[in-house]
Symmetry: C2
Subunit: 379 residues, 2 copies
């Protein structure tokens, strides 16, 4: 199942390959059949992490499957591993970093291993124009961005699908044998014109859920922090997991950082609406100054009636990543609504914060070139 | 397309997974759209091989695709490689050896390389009961039978799909991207209940057609000697080959050694009708004595009216493998038809020849355990 329909205002499409329109997260919880992250569950997590991560406090991660079971097991002494990944179709943008930053937090607090899959095969299969050379190149490039966030090589295992297929294939075969074409069609919307590589591919995305058992002999659950568009993969994987003698993979789902245009997630296919980690300062500035905000037609009008931060793409940047301090965020919101702060000031601030972050990120990213091999999944 | 329909006498089914009924080879040439092996083409082959192999003389290999093109290229200085394989669903029987013996002949005469694929993944995917452990075990066992026939390690590269997936996967992805689900369904008869691994798998069988270019940089055609039931794979592969910049794979198709029952090919799923290379002498004897022949109800009657070698499974054994001498074969046929030789004598002879062959084969097979690693595809 994927969610795709006309709403009153804009069409919402949420599939593993496309997210557009205004995303209604309450509706996704209902239609995907996931669980909301309750206060009680957040309290249990907080009891292990000391304080609640910003992305949990602000409900950027808002939904889950079996996170409670993973916490139950953890409290009884069964650890879990983390698994997430990236489809290397192009360079990484700020939106991609959101769940990775959260993943790093969970990894540190629970002292656990991360398997990170770079799906160079998938991106080749689903894009007519893509070559394997390109997607494998981006896999390397994207891994640098992951490492730049501060992951440590001893417990971060990066899997490059094409290069590491020997580790994944037999597990993918076991999964594939339990997934009929009709199940795959219903889950992913496959059509007669879909190529047979793409049809098989969900088995490849499932394989890392079980790789820890394969490598170490320890059968523990995988917890997958990722944007909710990936959910169809895990529904299929969960059905198969128990038949193969593994735990069902658990998920914790995040929202999409909105793009700089009106509505939708940041998309690499609309480069003007995303900030990429390699964007130079002047390009960042230009993109931010062209961004969609909740501002009014004139400064005079806005000073009088205020602006609307709820529809402002810039405000979301503060909310997701660039204002940790709740008090300051609230202050900014009030100033915006009252007209005391105009869009120009807010944009100037975010350009400064973004460029400062990106400058540091790029330094760490450059250093990652020396250590990237240490992160390659160990056999 | 696969051929499957009711004939006047018995239902003929010829697909990559099932062959049953009386096989009408003329009809297969028409319906598969292949070319008969003409006298002219046989003469051209003979001009390179010195004499025509028994299996060509007797039209056991009877049909082809693009063999003439391969010979054209060869005569102009472009070599070819051989590619064939085996689905390791169980032990090898005498019928499997027929095309391998011919392949060895072509390899020697044209001094060329053989890629031999053991499809442990396929046999796992298509059989509900099979485990990967089993199919991988049989892959090893079956490789011993291949090597026992006299192939040399320097130009015989055995590929075990699961173990060697790292060599095949990127080529399989390139192929898969060009094969839609609807093409695969039409070619292989896939259904909604087919698992997604099986749907992808034809791309894996295609990959070795192009592996030589990948390993050596030499873009040369592959010639595939195999039973005609595999033809649907090559039709799909041929369509894709040129899009990827490779030669279309050429084929030369053989008949099936009939089983010891009435009609059909030898099938590992009907062990009483096949002679396996590991069958001990007394079991060979029992199977032969229980075999279907063209004999009459009583010895007296048969001495008077003769028997019918055209429907006799034992006579086929002489024809395919155990009587090289055309004159002696003809003599046996005459004696059978006239009633001068009864089934008992013919059976006693074939039991002797079979057991002698198998005894030698098993000795070489045992020795192959020491050298099998030398045949593993070199990277």
């Amino acid at each position: 199942m994927t969610v795709s329909s006309n709403d009153e205002n804009s069409e919402m499409v949420v599939t593993p390959w496309e997210v557009k329109g205004k995303v209604d997260y309450e509706r996704l919880i209902r239609e995907f059949g996931t669980q909301p992250l309750t206060k009680e569950l957040l309290n249990r997590i907080e009891s292990h992490t000391g304080s609640l991560h910003l992305q949990l406090q602000r409900h950027i991660f808002f939904s889950h499957r079996d996170l409670d079971t993973v916490v139950d097991l953890y409290e009884k002494g069964t650890k879990f591993v983390l698994y997430t990944g990236r489809g290397p179709s192009g360079p990484v943008h700020i939106g991609h970093l959101v769940p990775w930053i959260f993943t790093l937090h969970i990894q540190k607090k629970f002292n656990t291993r991360l398997y990170f899959q770079l799906t160079d095969d998938e991106k080749f299969l689903i894009d007519d124009e893509a070559t394997l050379e390109q997607t494998r190149h981006y896999a390397y490039e994207n891994a640098l961005d992951l490492i730049a966030l501060g992951f440590k090589p001893n417990d971060t295992f990066i899997i490059y699908d094409v290069e590491d297929i020997d580790m994944l294939y037999s597990t993918a075969l076991e999964v594939a044998k339990h997934v009929t074409y009709s199940t795959a069609r219903a889950s992913f919307g496959f059509q007669d014109s879909t190529n047979i590589g793409w049809v098989f591919w969900p088995a490849l995305q499932a394989a890392p859920c079980f790789i820890h058992a394969k490598l170490t002999g320890e059968n523990v659950p995988a917890l997958i922090p990722a944007a909710i568009d990936q959910d169809p993969y895990w529904r299929v994987t969960r059905d198969v997991a128990q038949k193969l003698g593994y735990y069902k993979p658990a998920q914790i789902h995040c929202r999409f950082l909105p793009g700089l245009g009106a509505g939708g997630k940041m998309s690499a296919s609309m480069p003007e609406t995303s900030i990429f980690t390699k964007d130079p300062p002047d390009l960042v500035k230009r993109k931010i100054w062209n961004a969609f905000t909740g501002g009014k037609g004139t400064a005079t009008e806005q000073r009088k009636t205020g602006a609307d931060p709820t529809i402002c793409s810039i405000f979301q940047y503060y909310f997701y990543l660039f204002e940790d301090d709740d008090k300051k965020l609230l202050e900014r919101e009030h100033k915006c609504k009252s007209g005391a702060m105009l869009c120009g000031e807010c944009k100037t601030d975010i350009v400064f914060r973004l460029n400062k972050f990106l400058e540091e990120h790029r330094k760490r990213r450059e250093k990652a070139k020396d250590t990237i091999e240490q992160y390659h999944v160990k056999r």
